[in-house]
């Protein structure tokens, strides 16, 4: 039995009066890739953002229920510690435009005012960029601005920036929806590498992507977690009628 790293019990989220995540119970095993899919507006992104408490940035957002990281409820922790342990990569690549590639990778330390010796910084930058499969492409241009990279490279830079903080979990919010097919496939390959060290939760509206990259898949519909199972099981033999309809393309 794999150990669980993130789990929610009776988790609900609202924007104002709009109930967007309804009573979700899910447990995410360590070192797995979990895809969260569902039609637009089904609450999958909101659920993802509830895991590291980014949804709180929206005024009127509230959440209740338990969201456990290891054995701690993230809603009892300070959001800063939550976000140090749970990294996030967004839909559009968003490197800091005022920082170089090097500084972007160590931004989590640098901008937080943590001073590290140069050797340690170099090591973190090289390790993070290598893990994000970007090192070979940028090692000669580390001091150029991150915004000069292509979209796919920028997204991998954002991944490097997230893993530089050594989080336990990485959240991806439709990480390839703004990228071209080649960049997309390079990011997808990366997921297989990353899961050795981290637990990945990936929101995607692309079913094929969920099928390609994930170990387990969760299907959200209208704010509910309809079905959650091994990816193979889910795509070949879904138990719920709604999942089946979604997978066979009867609605999207």
């Amino acid at each position: 039995m794999e150990s669980t790293i993130v789990s929610s019990t009776n988790f609900n989220a609202w924007f104002g009066d709009n109930h967007v995540v309804k009573n979700v119970n899910i447990s995410i095993p360590k070192n797995n890739v979990v895809a969260v899919m569902g039609p637009s507006g089904c609450g999958k992104t909101t659920f993802l953002r509830c895991i590291n408490r980014m949804h709180e940035l929206v005024p009127n957002a509230k959440a209740d229920g338990k969201m456990m990281l290891d054995n701690e409820n993230v809603y009892d922790m300070h959001p800063i510690f939550v976000r140090l342990k749970i990294g996030m990569v967004f839909q559009r690549p968003n490197p800091f435009p005022n920082l170089s590639i090097y500084d972007n990778v160590i931004a989590g330390y640098k901008l937080n005012g943590m001073r590290l010796p140069k050797a340690e910084k170099d090591a973190i930058v090289e390790k993070s960029l290598s893990r994000a499969a970007l090192w070979n492409e940028v090692k000669d241009n580390l001091h150029k601005k991150g915004t000069f990279l292509s979209g796919g490279q920028q997204q991998r830079l954002c991944i490097a920036r997230a893993i530089a903080m050594e989080p336990e979990v990485l959240l991806f919010d439709e990480p390839t929806s703004a990228l071209d097919p080649i960049s997309t496939s390079s990011i997808e390959e990366l997921f297989h590498e990353l899961k050795k060290n981290y637990t990945l939760i990936i929101v995607t509206h692309n079913m094929q992507q969920a099928a390609r990259v994930s170990d387990k898949t969760a299907f959200f519909y209208l704010g509910e977690l309809v079905e959650y199972d091994g990816t193979k099981q889910m795509f070949t033999n879904p138990t719920d009628k709604r999942t089946q309809n979604y997978i066979t393309g009867r609605f999207s």
């Binding site: 980014m54 800063i80 976000r83």
Partner: protein, 284 residues
């Protein structure tokens, strides 16, 4: 056939007339500025030399004399005004861009807009009643306070507008890395918007450099060199105002020279603004 041809020709002619009118009017906008430049340079350039910059005004009838007191005074008054207005203005701008819809933001935005429209002479009178009457003396610092009130709206609005233009994704990226809120603002948002914030600040300095009305009954003017900001102080616009309305030719000459110096000052600040916006712009 002929009729259509004639019609099209007439339309082409109309289009050319419109183009010419636009060109002439666009050029007409530049003429006043060029005329002012030409006239002030013509009158002022012969009066300016090293002596003019470093010496004090002479009494009527004596040759020479300079504007050292006004130059120093203007620098000090504007410096103090900047020290008062820049931090408050930037902080207020940050608040407004971060809290777009709160009641406080609504009222402070309204207040800032109204403050921008308050005539400068009224600002001067208010400071006269608040500070000069209370302290029983004209002083440079009261002049700075009046000028700071005039700088404030420009800095607030330019900071707010600049920061509003930054994409939300930038803030999200910083917060997702576990940065506390104040560091998100200081280390990410401000550095990314620095060119806009700075150009607002420099423009506001250029804007107040020539203000005369708020200084008339605050800094008051002083024929002697003074670097004590709690005492009355001369400034360039005050000197120009006093000397240009005097009946003496020597003083008129000083006023022309001072006008040219003020013009160069404002021009330089505007050029610096252009350079900072270009050089420090962060490509988003």
């Amino acid at each position: 056939m002929n009729k259509t041809n004639a019609h099209i020709k007439w339309r082409i002619a109309k289009s050319n007339i419109a183009k010419t009118v636009i060109l002439v009017l666009a050029f007409a906008c530049v003429i006043p500025l060029l005329a002012i430049f030409f006239y002030i340079i013509k009158e002022g350039v012969t009066k300016i030399n090293w002596h003019f910059i470093v010496s004090l005004p002479k009494p009527v009838g004596e040759e020479g004399g300079g504007i050292a007191n006004a130059l120093l005074g203007s620098l000090l008054i504007v410096l103090c005004a900047s020290i008062i207005a820049i931090p408050i203005g930037i902080l207020c701008g940050i608040y407004l861009s971060e809290n777009k819809n709160t009641r406080l933001a609504y009222y402070s935005r309204l207040a800032v807009d109204i403050l921008q429209g308050v005539p400068s002479i009224v600002v001067g009178i208010i400071i006269y009643f608040w500070i000069v009457k209370e302290t029983q003396t004209f002083s440079a610092i009261s002049g700075s306070a009046a000028l700071a009130l005039m700088m404030l709206p420009i800095i607030v609005r330019s900071t707010e507008e600049t920061l509003k233009l930054l994409p939300d994704s930038l803030k999200e990226a910083a917060l997702a890395l576990g940065l506390p809120y104040h560091r998100v603002i200081l280390k990410v948002l401000l550095p990314c918007g620095i060119s806009g914030v700075l150009s607002g600040v420099i423009l506001s300095v250029a804007r107040i450099a020539g203000e005369t009305a708020p200084l008339l009954f605050t800094a008051f003017g002083n024929p002697y060199l003074n670097s004590n900001i709690f005492k009355p102080m001369q400034s360039l616009p005050l000197l120009i105002f006093n000397y240009a309305t005097s009946p003496y030719d020597d003083w008129h000459n000083l006023a022309w020279g001072a006008s040219l110096i003020l013009l160069i000052w404002v021009l330089l600040l505007n050029i610096i603004t252009k350079i900072t916006t270009r050089k420090w712009r962060v490509q988003l």
